[in-house]
């Protein structure tokens, strides 16, 4: 498959999409945009005409960078079973990096969890990867994402984590009134709406 010229800027975000994680996810998406990259994730997949795993293959293939958050290890409250989608998508990403062509071998991967070394208890095979804790804090998540993108790209224009967090705080303060102007509710913002608003806001508040 021919890849577009966005390979070097696209960042696959593999994380929970539940309400508890919403604030961390919002911070990570903002941080990726503010670093000059483009977030990609499974929430793009609303076209029912393609098998879900095929869509995931396509997104993973088109992203040089991948952020994988393994925070959500709890059993589902309703059926008492764990969710395996995130470890599966991490495995797909690592396999593409390992067995893919020269372009895929350039992939870089950041693994996030809420506590340091907790992963050793449930997925110890990933030892040796870049694994960072964020403590369920938006500020820490922003810093981890920013520092990692800065380390693995040649960009000299990436602001520091504190600067991004300050901008994120300003954005969060303005978001409820932005939503009101757009006749949206902040709690019901879709991924498409949120990403577009963040991107435009950063362009106008550079």
């Amino acid at each position: 498959m021919a890849l577009g010229d966005r390979y070097a800027t696209d960042v696959f975000v593999n994380c929970p999409f539940d309400d508890k994680y919403r604030a961390t996810f919002a911070a990570i998406v903002f941080s990726i945009f503010d670093c000059g990259f483009r977030p990609r994730c499974a929430l793009e997949l609303d076209d029912s005409g393609e098998v879900r795993i095929e869509k995931l293959f396509r997104i993973i293939e088109s992203c040089r960078f991948g952020i994988h958050d393994l925070t959500r290890t709890e059993l589902d409250a309703a059926n008492r079973l764990p969710r395996f989608n995130m470890p599966l998508e991490l495995g797909l990403f690592l396999a593409a990096q390992r067995f893919g062509d020269s372009k895929q071998k350039r992939k870089r991967c950041l693994i996030l969890d809420r506590e340091p070394y907790r992963y050793q208890k449930f997925i110890s095979d990933i030892a040796g990867q870049d694994i960072q804790p964020h403590g369920n804090s938006a500020k820490q998540a922003i810093r981890r994402v920013r520092d990692w993108l800065h380390n693995h790209s040649s960009r000299e224009t990436i602001p520091s984590g504190i600067v991004i967090h300050e901008r994120y705080t300003t954005f969060q303060r303005e978001l409820p009134r932005l939503c009101k102007e757009l006749r949206l509710h902040p709690k019901e913002l879709t991924y498409k709406d949120y990403g577009t608003i963040v991107s435009k806001w950063l362009l106008l508040n550079a």
Binding site: L178, L182, K200, L203
Partner: protein
Amino acid sequence: MTKAAKRVRTVQTPKVKSSIPASKIEKAIRVVSKGVTAKRDGGSPKSGKPSRSW
């Protein structure tokens, strides 16, 4: 950020875009950011106290 750094810094547009027209989003951002700026400068914001929740 230095002038040189600011000049080359870019913001990517999302892969999947909102169905809300870009011009409408830009207008809302300008209205809200203008209100915040006025408040910071001691003027009156366009609307009431902002919430920190998403």
